[in-house]
Symmetry: C2
Subunit: 66 residues, 2 copies
């Protein structure tokens, strides 16, 4: 699973902490997600989608191994 959260965050000029607060998770969760350390829940994905005003499919992309 790839994602472009870091880019979206840059576009919106949010720190990891900002984003964490806005969607209600810890900063480490944001960091780990950006680093591809795990795959978030669909609820989280939809919250990012709302915040960034782009679709979940535009944020996340499946890879071969998924």
């Amino acid at each position: 699973m790839k994602n472009n959260i870091k880019v979206q965050r840059a576009i919106h000029n949010f720190t990891q902490q900002d984003l964490a607060d806005k969607i209600g998770v810890s900063r480490q969760t944001i960091n780990a997600m950006e680093k591809g350390k795990y795959v978030p829940s669909t609820a989280l994905a939809l919250k990012l989608s709302q915040l960034f005003k782009i679709s979940v499919n535009e944020i996340f992309e499946l890879e071969a191994e998924d």
Copy 2:
């Protein structure tokens, strides 16, 4: 979190078992998802999105309590 997996499954004429096999989860996972018993991972959501050829946002919808 609402979803319309059951409807999509009907459109594509899949049983819960069919769908489970196609996306690589157990039938109970499909059943529980349809029943709203839990929120799947984004990986699962993307697989459903691919299979049904519609976006994740068209399958899943956040609700007030999420």
